[in-house]
Structures are given as C-alpha cells and as structure tokens.
Point group: C2
Chain length 234, copies 2
C-alpha cells in the first residue's frame, strides 16, 4: 500500500478523507495542518484531536500569512447569507491560491520521507465557489508536482464528487470522529451556526437526518433528526 500524508484541516471533509484512507489500508505516515493567518486557527486543535484519535502523527506547519481574504483578516466573515441560490462566483472566503500553497509545502515535506500520496478533503460542494478545489486544478497540480520533484506523486481526492450530505453519510459509515471536527469560519468557543461553512454543515446533517454532535452558539432546528452516536458507542 502507498505511503501517504494527509492534509488535515480538522474540518469534516479532511477528517472523512482520513477515515477513508485508513479504511483503504493506505499507510498514513502523518497528518499536516497549516497556519496561514486564518481566523479559525481553532480548527488546528480539532485536527490534533482527530490525529490523536487515529494515532496518526500530527504536525502543524506555520506558513507565511496568505493575505486578501475574509478568512485571513480582510473584512468580516459573512454570516446569515442566503445560500439557496449560489452561483459559481468565487466566494469572499476564497484565500488567494491557498490550496496550491498548502499542497506545495506538503510535497516539500513529503520529500523528506518516502510518501508518494497526498490525501485531502477536496469535494464537489467546495468546488462550486473555490476554483482551487476543483478536479481540473487538482489534476494539473498533480502533474506539476511530478515535474517539479521527479517523484510520482498522487493527489488522492476521495470526496471530489461528493456534496456535503454525501460527506456526512460517508463520515458516519466510516465511523469518523465527527464530534471532534471543527468547520466554523469564526474561531469561537462554539460554532456560530450562521457563516457559510456552518450553514452548509447544518444543512447536510439535516438532509441526512442526523443531529450534528458539535455545539452551536445558536439554536438549530433538528426536528425529524436522529441523535448522532459516537463511533465508540457503536
């Protein structure tokens, strides 16, 4: 089985990708998180907890801040947006060229050891408004990395066709530690429930009919949803 590093933000997507990699018996040598000036650095604590849960070595790489995004300090994080009619406009929370920067550093790190695979939680839902989460970008990046390094890197992207509900279903099926994840763009004690990321997450759990186990700062209508059972309860 291939040796891999996982880009683990601590969000539901990358945690589900890690659960997938382990279920596929990929050898996950390490989990990498990145600080790049994001407000929600709290997600890194979530990544650490998830890596510990799976007993995967975890490392946080502190990079130079990536400026020019709502996520990294330019203006407020949008809250309460109507996401029912999203078009393909690039989101105000797009971080300029973030994914190529993170992938590039992950590969520089991989070159210190034997890893040939990078695993990440890129998915169909994010692809809509984040060009650097789309399949053509990831395919081009994979080719570029091979040329840059002379190592046959593979970017494994198991969720690339999934919407958020599909990811929740997969996370549950794989027994991923959903209760340890962090999705909210704000770095509060509880998830805000109203930023784009929270809205999409809540909507996905409701679509699946399961109550999201993480605490929210606002009341969420979970009527018709079943309680979530942590993997260790199953």
């Amino acid at each position: 089985m291939p040796d891999a590093l996982i880009l683990l933000s601590g969000g539901l997507d990358s945690v589900t990708a890690l659960a997938w990699a382990l279920s596929e018996r990929i050898t996950v040598l390490g989990a990498l998180s990145f600080e790049y000036g994001q407000r929600h650095a709290r997600e890194i604590a979530a990544a650490e907890a998830v890596a510990a849960y799976y007993r995967v070595p975890h490392q946080t790489l502190t990079l130079a801040p990536i400026r020019g995004s709502r996520l990294t300090g330019q203006g407020d994080i949008p809250q309460g947006r109507d996401l029912s009619a999203l078009d393909e406009t690039v989101a105000p929370t797009y971080v300029p060229n973030r994914n190529l920067i993170l992938i590039s550093y992950a590969v520089a790190h991989a070159l210190l050891g034997p890893a040939t695979h990078l695993v990440g939680g890129w998915n169909g839902a994010d692809a809509l408004n984040y060009p650097d989460c789309r399949e053509p970008f990831l395919a081009a990046a994979e080719q570029t990395l091979r040329l840059a390094t002379e190592r046959e890197f593979t970017i494994a992207r198991p969720l690339i066709a999934d919407d958020k509900a599909a990811i929740v279903r997969r996370a549950i099926a794989l027994g991923a530690p959903i209760h340890l994840t962090w999705t909210c763009y704000l770095g509060g004690e509880r998830a805000c429930g109203t930023c784009d990321a929270c809205q999409l997450r809540v909507g996905a759990f409701r679509a699946v009919g399961v109550i999201d186990p993480i605490p929210y700062a606002v009341a969420i209508d979970w009527s018709g949803c079943a309680p979530y059972r942590q993997p260790e309860d199953l």
Copy 2:
C-alpha cells in the same frame, strides 16, 4: 503592456530577466524576494539594490523554511566539485519543491493587485539539475495557476533556452547592473569562487571574455578577459 511581478533573487539570472522585462516595456509593478531559510540570504540585499537601481518597488516575503537541502542547512555546500561532466542528477543544492512554493506565493501576492505576469530567471543551465527550473514544469505550473485562481496568469521565462554564457552576454547587452548581483551559495562577504554557482558564473564570464565585476575570496584567472564596464560608464 501587461502588469508583472518579478521574482528577484538578486542573482545574475533574475536580474537579467528584470532587465529584459523593462526593455520589453512590461510594467513591472514590483520585485519579490523570498526568505525560505537559505544560507545565502545575503542575495536579498543584492535584490534590494538592483530593485532600487531600476526604481522598482521591492518586497521580501518571509516564508516558512523549506527543509531538506544543502542550501537550507542540511549538510555542507559542496565546493570545488568537478562540474565538467555534469549529468542530469538532481543537485544536492536542490531545495524541495522550492520553485512551486515561491511561484504560488508570488501569485497569491499578485492577486492583491492587477498583475497577470510573473517574470523569472529560470534558464537552460539550471534546468539540467533542478527539475523545477525546466520548461515542462513551468508550463504545467502556469496552467495550474490559471485553474487555481481564474486569472490568466503567464509565467514569462525569457532565459529558458539560455546557458550561463548567453545570460552574461544578454546582461551586458541590456546594461544590467551585474556589479550589484549575488550568486554564491555561501553567505560570505565575498563570493567563494568554488561552490557550484560561483564556478558556473566564473566559467560563463570567461567564456564571454569579460571580467566579472564582483569581488571573489579566491584569485580567479581572468587572463584574456576584458574589464567589465558598469552601465553608468557606457
């Protein structure tokens, strides 16, 4: 004319690329230098001097160190190597995935303004032992950047077919401030004259028949070479 940023290391190659861009009347909005843990951070002072010479705004971006190279602290810089029979082996001074990291940050920076072009000193001589300096890598990176950002970036690489002697000839023809450049991999007061970079530089000047105007720590045989005349003397 397009708006551009130049990746300016302060070495002869990138300085010649800057001289080329200005001669082509490309609007150079800024020059970017990068700290990534290299021993020869002295080159950044050279980049600053060259940018000031051309009155181009200069900025140094301090990135997370890129580990795993002789250039960034792992082992000694090779000196006195026999470079007469170089094959295509990756050099011990290769910095893992450096160029994709630098290009990715340069693009993140470009997205804060109107620049659509990145200019750099990638060339045929470096391409031999540095896979991330080769034409296929740069073409793939260009395509990847366009997909990541939805901006039609161009990576201008005017020296890509040049060997080091051709670059010296071009630098002289363009009146580039060669005396301000820094090439040596070591960060000393004077260029060491014996590391791979110094050897290639000295060999190129000798091939062209001109005395390199920068000071060397060792005696160089310049017999048969004419004195270099600084641009302001011409």
